[in-house]
């Protein structure tokens, strides 16, 4: 899908909103499944976002600079006997893009971004 640079697709808006919600609640870092679950709960959806759709969007958003990620310490994962998580967080550019998305289509987005997190 061709789109204007710096604009967000609906799924990207959802990811960003959920990421910011989590940050406000003290969990600034999220992994793929966590955000899929959060989107499902928040939007009262029947299904979790598909693997391909979710990770492609996360990859694209990282390349656009809206998200940043880092792999967690393998020792932490090993101690908890689970696979290593890739932890994402919303960047200032991402917050700004979300604000722009709300301004462009306020009726399409149900929740407002946290103004305290938005960086011009």
């Amino acid at each position: 899908m061709r789109r204007k640079k710096g604009t967000l697709l609906p799924l990207e808006v959802s990811i960003m909103q959920c990421g910011i919600d989590l940050a406000v609640r003290g969990a600034p870092h999220f992994h793929g499944f966590m955000i899929a679950k959060k989107i499902k709960d928040r939007e009262d959806a029947k299904l979790l976002t598909a693997h391909g759709t979710l990770y492609k969007a996360l990859d694209r958003m990282q390349k656009s600079g809206f998200l940043e990620s880092q792999w967690e310490d393998p020792l932490v994962a090993a101690q908890q006997r689970r696979p290593r998580r890739r932890l994402y967080h919303v960047t200032a550019a991402g917050e700004a893009a979300l604000v722009r998305a709300h301004e462009a289509a306020p009726q399409a987005t149900s929740a407002q971004p946290n103004p305290g997190l938005a960086t011009p």
Binding site: A50, H51, G52, T53, L54
Partner: protein, 213 residues
């Protein structure tokens, strides 16, 4: 429960292994690790919420199937990025050749069944005309899929189209086996799709190390 979940997890991992094959090691490893982590977290949450295994398995399968188009487009993008750095793709590998051979063998199945039906070897249909028509249709479908697989490298649109059309047709005709024909057909389309993405498909790729001059 574990067996049921394995039935959903194994195809997800196999699919991830397939579509990341031939990518740069770090890109491939990261995507596989991320999917592994997702599957683990999904199972853990299902355990905590005491969700029935059937629901969890169905949810994982749906997430897999619904995400396949995005996986394929991501693969093409990631593959073209990788090609700018080196010339090897999944299509050059022995794995891809093996997959193609397997796909051709699978695609030959409806064609063989068509011949058997036409000559009355299965003994199920009495009327000669009906038998011949059914046999011819199945033979045509099998031939279309085989042709599509072979053509997909040189004529991507036609090749993928033939495989997809053949898959749909055989799924409709053998509707009672749709649980098998649809995923298998999807796999055949994926193989045709990846073959179509070989380096010498696109014009203007002549700067690649292994592209013809």
């Amino acid at each position: 429960m574990i067996k049921l979940l394995s039935l959903a997890i194994a195809p997800t991992r196999a699919w991830t292994a397939l579509y990341t094959r031939g990518l740069l090691a770090d890109v491939r490893g990261e995507r596989r690790e991320e999917i592994d982590c997702d599957l683990w977290e999904h199972q853990r949450l299902a355990d905590l919420e005491r969700e029935p295994a059937t629901s969890t398995a169905a949810a994982i399968m749906l997430r897999l199937i619904m995400g396949i188009p995005a996986d394929m487009t991501w693969r093409l993008e990631a593959g073209s990025n990788a090609r700018s750095g080196r010339g090897t793709t999944m299509n050059d590998s022995w794995t891809m050749r093996g997959l193609l051979a397997l796909a051709l063998a699978i695609a030959a199945f409806p064609a063989v069944i068509g011949v058997l039906v036409a000559i009355g070897a299965n003994g199920e249909i009495d009327g000669t005309t009906e038998r011949l028509i059914k046999g011819a249709i199945q033979l045509t479908i099998g031939t279309a899929i085989l042709t599509g697989l072979v053509l997909s490298a040189r004529r991507p649109g036609l090749g993928i189209g033939l495989v997809a059309a053949g898959t749909i047709a055989i799924s409709v005709m053998w509707y009672w086996a749709a649980m098998i024909t649809l995923p298998v057909g999807l796999g055949l389309v994926a193989i045709a799709y990846f073959r179509a993405g070989r380096p010498n498909w696109r014009r203007g790729d002549s700067d690649l190390p292994n592209a013809p001059a």
